[in-house]
């Protein structure tokens, strides 16, 4: 492979099209979800272990910061979920034309943000 190709990788100058933006957010959200795995397992453990740990979990969740964090992770999950479904559909050779791909990536953003906002308001 020719390693001396000209490169244009100035991150401040690159303007990502929406499907690429959804794609990089799929990575970022996946990484965040991986990092949150111990927290997820710990929460599951505390929710099941005893009525005391269940109640203390409820109590901890009352804190605004933990609510904010939870809503943020909820968005990460919803984005990863919706973008993942989009890739599954694209793998079936559906929606692969440029206009359709742009429209579906817009829907991924709309649906994940809206659901995160609705659930966020409900949980607050």
């Amino acid at each position: 492979m020719n390693k001396n190709r000209p490169k244009h990788l100035d991150l401040r100058l690159i303007k990502l099209p929406l499907p690429a933006f959804v794609s990089i957010l799929h990575r970022v959200s996946g990484l965040l979800l991986f990092l949150a795995l111990p927290l997820l397992l710990w929460t599951l453990q505390y929710s099941l272990r005893s009525i005391e740990t269940f109640t203390s979990l409820r109590w901890m969740f009352q804190h605004p910061l933990s609510k904010l964090f939870f809503i943020f992770m909820l968005w990460a999950f919803l984005h990863h979920f919706c973008a993942g479904l989009r890739y599954l559909v694209i793998d079936l050779d559906r929606g692969i034309r440029l206009a359709q791909a742009r429209a579906s990536s817009r829907w991924v953003m709309i649906v994940s943000l809206t659901l995160a906002a609705l659930l966020g308001v409900r949980l607050w």
Binding site: R27, L31, F34, L37, P38, F54, F81, D91
Partner: protein, 115 residues
């Protein structure tokens, strides 16, 4: 001759397929869980533990968690392969991710059958 790297992704088809199968398993479980939570808006401890009291629910939950850990491995490996170039650091991160995920799997069994 092709330069084989220990930290590479081999031929990719297996990982590609694994990523999609595990994704479908997790999506179905997530939809089930979301539906169940919608039906139980004021969730209390007894209702929650009753859901996880049967071996069927515990087994399916463990299956989905194992799918999640495999999925996380493929995803993390792809990210590390794209952004971490030095082979030594790459291998170190791979090993740490694998060990963490195996520990999570053991922890999951303890959570589900130790409650």
């Amino acid at each position: 001759m092709v330069d084989r790297i220990v930290t590479g992704a081999h031929y990719g088809l297996r990982s590609w397929l694994l990523q999609r199968i595990t994704a479908v398993m997790m999506a179905l479980y997530a939809l089930f869980m979301a539906g169940w939570l919608l039906l139980h808006p004021d969730l209390d401890y007894d209702t929650w533990t009753l859901l996880f009291s049967s071996d069927v629910m515990r087994s399916f939950t463990l299956l989905v968690l194992l799918a999640l850990f495999s999925h996380a491995w493929v995803g993390m490996r792809d990210i590390v392969m794209d952004y971490v170039k030095p082979a030594g650091i790459r291998l170190l991160i791979h090993v740490l991710v694998i060990l963490a995920l195996i520990l999570y799997a053991i922890w999951s069994v303890q959570i589900l059958w130790g409650m």
